[in-house]
């Protein structure tokens, strides 16, 4: 008596459709967009501050800050005089494409060269949600352990770039750079890897040079 209805529908299709609209919008605007991801405390905002320090005079940049409760990160960014839009997810563990679509209404995207989306600190949930960005950049710090890619494979599989941050702490922590490279590349052989210290500035130039190249490539 039970009748079976075949549905075959992607659960996140609505999100993916909006993400595709966002991506097309960004393409037409000639702006490079990356989605910055990590667990809480890896240094996403610090990396962003270092990046803005180097690039805010050279390029027109805006930031969308996803945060669970506060606007503390947006305030840290505001000293560079770049437009920052805060999305407080009120407990939500990730950003979704429609939140980005709403947020960009408050930004003059056509006037930008680079738009950074700083996602909620979480290595699990954001990995399933395409926001319409061109690249996902995952930050992992040396205090977290070199097994992070194996614990959160989806995130490292979908990311384009991995930034290993806090390398100034390498002498004090059980963290092997070769191991994390090996772990990350076995999940995603195409991953581009940077090593940085936001405290000493080591590796920041290499990262910023690479990013500048991307911005130029997407500029219209």
């Amino acid at each position: 008596m039970g009748q079976v209805i075949t549905v075959e529908r992607q659960i996140l299709k609505k999100n993916d459709d909006i993400a595709a609209e966002n991506r097309e919008f960004f393409r037409q605007a000639g702006v490079f967009v990356f989605n910055l991801l990590s667990s809480p405390g890896s240094g996403k905002t610090s990396l962003l501050e270092k990046t803005l320090e180097k690039l805010h005079d050279k390029y027109r940049i805006a930031v969308i800050e996803g945060d669970v409760q506060t606007d503390l990160d947006a305030r840290r960014i505001s000293r560079f005089n770049v437009p920052a839009v805060q999305i407080v997810t009120k407990g939500g563990c990730h950003l979704e494409a429609n939140l980005i679509q709403n947020a960009v209404e408050n930004i003059d995207v056509k006037a930008l060269d680079l738009l950074v989306i700083e996602n909620v600190g979480n290595l699990v949930c954001p990995s399933n949600y395409d926001l319409g960005e061109h690249m996902k950049i995952v930050v992992v710090s040396t205090t977290e352990g070199d097994d992070k890619p194996l614990k959160y494979p989806k995130m490292f599989r979908v990311s384009d770039v991995m930034v290993v941050n806090k390398i100034d702490l390498l002498p004090y922590v059980e963290f092997d750079m070769d191991t994390i490279r090996k772990n990350a590349l076995s999940i995603n052989p195409n991953l581009t890897i940077f090593e940085t210290s936001c405290r000493t500035g080591e590796g920041i130039d290499r990262w910023v040079d690479w990013l500048s190249g991307k911005i130029e490539q997407f500029r219209s």
Partner: protein, 121 residues
């Protein structure tokens, strides 16, 4: 925990498929969850069971089909289960691996009772 948000999307798909047809009672929904989706089946089931009670489809069950992560080597053609998320061919060692399954996150089917009685609403 994004399983709640995924459970809400599942309910939306159910709603769009069945509408508010009083004569069809939803018995169960079958979803496919790939190994590489960062979705915990137990959490999804928990969330689904919680929110389905707030809908006209109260009492419906969720069946989760776990889809293993499999790949095909682009060099030698070997098809294999991707162990420990290492995208490396076990036969020839190539890293040119095409994913065959394991990234699914979809509603595959609904089981309904025609002329269902109203006790579930």
């Amino acid at each position: 925990m994004h399983e709640m948000s995924i459970a809400e999307s599942i309910v939306e798909i159910i709603r769009e498929t069945l509408g508010e047809d009083e004569n069809r009672r939803l018995v169960s929904v079958t979803v496919e969850v790939g190994e590489l989706t960062a979705v915990v089946p137990e959490s999804l089931e928990f969330c689904f069971n919680a929110i389905i009670e707030t809908t006209p489809y109260r009492g419906a069950k969720i069946h989760i089909r776990n889809v293993p992560l499999t790949g095909r080597c682009q060099e030698c053609g070997e098809e294999f289960h991707i162990e420990k998320y290492a995208f490396v061919c076990p036969k020839c060692g190539s890293t040119r691996v095409q994913v065959l399954g394991g990234q699914e996150l979809k509603v595959s089917e609904l089981e309904v009772d025609e002329n269902g009685t109203g006790d579930h609403r």
